[in-house]
Symmetry: C2
Subunit: 220 residues, 2 copies
Amino acid sequence: MQDPAPPAVRGPGRARDAARTRAEIIEVATREFAEQGYTGARVDRIAERTRTTKRMIYYYFGGKEGLYVAVLEHAYAGIRQSERDLDLTGLRPIEAMRRLAELTYDHHVAHPEFIRLVSIENIHRAEHLASSETLRNLNMPVTDLIAGLLADGRADGTVRADADPLDVHMVISAYCVFAVANRHTFDALFGRDLLDPARRGHYRTLVGDLVVRYLTPTGP
Amino acid sequence: MQDPAPPAVRGPGRARDAARTRAEIIEVATREFAEQGYTGARVDRIAERTRTTKRMIYYYFGGKEGLYVAVLEHAYAGIRQSERDLDLTGLRPIEAMRRLAELTYDHHVAHPEFIRLVSIENIHRAEHLASSETLRNLNMPVTDLIAGLLADGRADGTVRADADPLDVHMVISAYCVFAVANRHTFDALFGRDLLDPARRGHYRTLVGDLVVRYLTPTGP
DNA sequence: TTACTAACGTACTAGTTCGTACATTAACGT
DNA sequence: ACGTTAATGTACGAACTAGTACGTTAGTAA
């Protein structure tokens, strides 16, 4: 953003910038794949919307599938980073968990494109995710974060002893992913838009409550 | 199943049975669309796997899109029916809710194909669902069931007063849909198969707990 | 029997879509 | 300057894919 923008032209004479071209292709492809699915996405359409040509997609990514994998890798790198940026300092474990659930909700709502990519990848049984070295080695910092909070909470008795970090993460993900991913069928069937801005607060609070109630130890 | 099976042949001379042909196309198409997505599905492939020809798909359904809508309608008619078959008699409201959550989990796990269709339809922003008269008029009996249970529970003080039926349904759906729909990416990223038979009981119990804890009124 | 029509089959086409062969140019080190 | 190569552009093709024109046959009613 801070570098002097090269002339936004195509054709002979345009300045060469591999990194920029590559990044632009990824950005446009992310939208196309998220909108249309893997099979529905069109290589020609992606090329059209770029300041370069289809030839470059094959030059940099080898083909449609390579481009799709690059898009996935880029997208996952994004959330992993935002998971690292989470700041829950100064909160007691149970309240940190509530906050984590609420922030996760906000993050998912703010990035529907990513959720769509995940849905699409699941339709394809995560075969691209599984075949990418980069993606296989991706660790998700949030699980360690949750594990730490649960351990602290168990130590001071504010969190039930039998709560599993990955289960808790699954519950949070399930709720947040569903609200975004299944928004359309839910709205069509029940007449309620899960992403209606007027209801955001309600649904944010709901997932927080859900998690806190699940984690709170039952009476003596 | 109980009628004498017509000869399983194709070509001139085969017995004619419109209903049977139609049903067979829907069945094969359901698999194809669920496996490949709408765009990835191939009309020719569906025809191949049927005892009839592609011509019949156009004869009965008008085209790929019409067939897809017919598949959706058939699939949704299925769950609506199984929602009607739910039997929760003899249980107190809160325990009936627990049971409902657990049965929903079992049902979703048993019908991954349907969950995939729903995911696919969401990728397409539920435009087919919204454009089908049949599907728009589809009522989902489970929401009334939940509303009744919550009302009963409120009456005898076993369910918190501010619980909304559709929210509760959303929470249950989110959990159950996620376990099936996002199974592959979750497994690839966290190394845990959410549908591992050895963990079914655990995850069934978890969603029951989640709902019960959410619905239980807080302290005195 | 015969006329009629719903049900079915074959062969083809127009358009699309991924991918590539081949040509060209800008940057960079020496 | 100049040669090398990374980066880019153009034009095209082979395969696929939804959809259709046209012909045929089985059941049925009179």
